[in-house]
Amino acid sequence: MSQLEIKDLHVSIGEKPIVKGLTLTIHSGEVHAIMGPNGTGKSTLSKAIAGHPDYTITSGDVLLDGASILGQEADERARAGIFLAFQYPSEIPGVSIANFLRAAQQARMAEGEELDASAYYKRLYSKMDLLKIDRKFTSRSVNDGFSGGEKKRCEILQMAMLEPKFALMDETDSGLDIDALRIVADGVNTMRGPNLGVLLITHYQRLLDHIVPDHVHVMYDGRIVKSGDKSLALELEAKGYDWIKKELAASAA
């Protein structure tokens, strides 16, 4: 049982504050959704937790199982169990998905320890079968010339192989047609279980029709302004983000 605690987190890009005091705790087995209008700091939150060098954490803390991860490089955080499913995954020409994942697995082993290649492929193929991914897929270069749907499929496969403690899914649904959306949702639902905590970042309710969250948070201007269960997402869908803005204005007055 793991826990990821985000404590009064403030994040800036350059001089500009984007996340302004966000607090949230996620436990293994839980799926949290963060919804909010564009430009409210949702993606910044996920990249800052993952350790992107362009994002400066000015105050607050992020703790994994009680220990701060802020002093760690992005790769150390990843190996500790934080996985970020990218909104726009990078292309790596010439590196096959199979070799990329193999390198990622090898990086998790102790120095001098060699990955068992046949066991690795066996595991890779069983995950691909589980996610209904064609065997030919992993011989292609990572994201190179992929369609939007293929990129997401590639992210989901990596997540399945790397078995993180916490997955941060950054607008995984953006730009996807309904079939691709189903691939992502089926993947997450397959992996969902007592060992995985998920933070779903999304602008739209529609992903939440397929992945039903345990908790829903509304983010606005760098903070969580409202939390609830899955019904909050439906309410938000019905009333729109203006509803949140009006509520905030009313409470501020």
Binding site: A50, G51, H52, P53, D54, E73, A74, D75, A78, R79, F83, L84, F86, P89, S90, E91, I92, P93, G94, V95, F100, L101, A103, A104, A107, R108, S141, Q158, L162
Partner: protein, 487 residues
């Protein structure tokens, strides 16, 4: 690699045959190159270059008078020719020819068995993995230590086919007529200032002759090691593949890192007679104080094929443009090159394809990687004269930049005259972006591993063409370079 049965008949007993076959030998351990042993040299031409230096080298080698004449004439040419700094880097002016030692050896006759090799030299080569290499997958090995081959051996099976594989000193002495017929014909002394220098002071290198129709199944390999400080290594290699013959030659080079500069200036001549095939593979990992100024060229006769695979890692400055003169109809020439320039290094590499007969084809694929302050330059010449027809050239130059300080230049000179020939040229420059590195780091790879993977991906399509042993080695060298380039 040849079949299992060939393999076992050629190899002396090794302890672990099954493992050897399952996991082919990895390349010579060039990553372990930065060390040197104190060696007592029996022969030392001293420091500096003069006629006396040349007379010393020639007398120690007990050369025929014509060779001494050849050397002295070359020295005159070398002294008369200007440094090519009107097109090449001014860094060449930092070579002080009077501070270099031109000849160092413990003797002129290479040992035929490993046990006879002097201990201090043996230690060096054992540390680099040479004897295992030979046992595992080579048809013959020559290991040059400073000026002379310390060890040279060819497997009986190959020798019985009439294949000659000796060092150049021995080649000149024992196979004079054959040597003389082709020596200096592909690359004349005055081709450039450094080919003139090599012609004056050459020592070591390989002489290979493959008789008509003989296909050497396993590669022949030479290994060049610089051990002494302020030293200049000037090997001279001549490979002749007679009609229908086939041979693959591989060379590896290393040197320890000294505080003063070292010069490596080789001349390599290849002759592929009618229908012959020569593949020449280089993986060099010079320490970054080495000036590596090498002239490599082959002549491909009718239906012959010459392929250069050239991997340049390390050195302070490398200037190397392997070429093929396509002399006979339907001859094919190919240059596949990979250059990696790290901080403080300049890789000035490229290819030359001179079409001199109808229906000849050439292919150049050059990939360069510049890291930090490293600088890569591609220079190419493709020449197809007007009177020819049916000639084809394909040139591809791709550069990868890792961080914004790196520099890359491309100077392709493609001269295609007449309308019965075709050429195609593509060039690209790409960058390893911060986002790409972050993406890989987010999957658990360290920054160095991420950069290394990006570089390996970039050269992947070329590395796949290498023999297994060399692509494994290349990957290891790249890993090491990337590790060193991350703060």
């Amino acid at each position: 690699m040849s079949s299992l049965s060939d393999f076992t008949t050629l190899s002396p007993p090794v302890h672990d045959e099954a493992t050897t076959v399952d996991h082919p030998a990895v390349g010579i351990d060039q990553t372990a190159g930065n060390f040197s042993y104190k060696v007592d040299y029996a022969f030392d031409a001293g420091t500096g270059l003069s006629e006396d230096t040349i007379r010393y080298i020639s007398s120690v080698k007990k050369e025929a008078p014509w060779i001494l004449e050849f050397r002295l004439a070359a020295l005159k040419k070398f002294l008369a020719m200007p440094m090519p700094t009107h097109w090449a880097t001014k860094d060449l002016e930092n070579i002080d020819f009077q501070k270099i030692r031109y000849y160092l050896s413990q003797g002129q006759k290479p040992k035929r068995t490993w046990d006879e090799v002097p201990d201090d030299i043996k230690k060096t080569f054992e540390r680099l993995g040479i004897p295992e290499q030979e046992r595992k997958f080579l048809a013959g090995v020559e290991a040059q230590f400073d000026s002379e081959a310390a060890y040279s051996n060819i497997k009986d099976v190959v020798a019985k086919q009439g294949v000659i594989f000796v060092n150049s000193t021995e080649g000149l002495r024992e196979h004079t007529a054959l040597f003389k017929k082709f020596f200096g014909k592909v690359i004349p002394t005055g081709d450039n200032k450094f080919s003139a220098l090599n012609s004056a002071v050459f020592s070591g290198g390989s002489f290979i002759y493959v008789p008509k129709g003989v296909k050497v199944a396993q590669p022949l390999q030479a290994y060049f090691r610089i051990n002494a400080e302020n030293f200049g290594q000037f090997e001279r290699t001549l490979i002749i593949a007679d009609e229908g013959a086939e041979v693959t030659y591989m060379e590896g080079c290393t040197a320890p890192k000294f505080s003063t500069s070292t010069l490596h200036s080789a001349v390599v001549e290849l002759v592929a007679l009618k229908g012959a095939k020569i593949q020449y593979i280089t993986v060099q990992n010079w320490a970054n104080n080495v000036f590596n100024l090498v002239t490599k060229r082959g002549v491909a006769h009718e239906d012959a094929e010459i392929k250069w695979i050239d991997c340049n890692i390390g050195s302070r400055l490398t200037m190397k443009y392997p070429g093929v003169v396509l002399k006979g109809e339907r001859a094919r020439g190919e240059v596949i090159s990979i250059a990696l320039a790290n901080d403080g290094q300049h890789q000035d590499t490229g290819a030359k394809m001179i079409h001199a007969a109808n229906n000849t084809t050439s292919n150049i694929v050059a990939k360069s990687i510049s890291v930090g302050q490293g600088r890569s330059t591609y220079r190419g010449v493709v020449h197809i004269p007007k009177h020819l027809k049916g000639c084809k050239n394909n040139t591809e130059c791709d550069a990868l930049l890792i961080n914004t300080n790196s520099r890359t230049d491309t100077y392709p000179a493609i001269t295609v005259r007449g309308d019965k020939n075709s050429t195609q040229h593509e060039a690209s420059v790409s960058k390893v972006s911060e986002d790409m590195i972050f993406y890989m780091q987010q999957r658990g790879l360290t920054e160095a591993q991420a950069m290394s993977l990006a570089v390996n991906g970039f050269i992947n399509d070329l590395a796949r063409q290498f023999p297994m042993e060399y692509s494994v080695e290349l990957k290891r060298l790249i890993d090491l370079e990337m590790e060193g380039s991350v703060g």
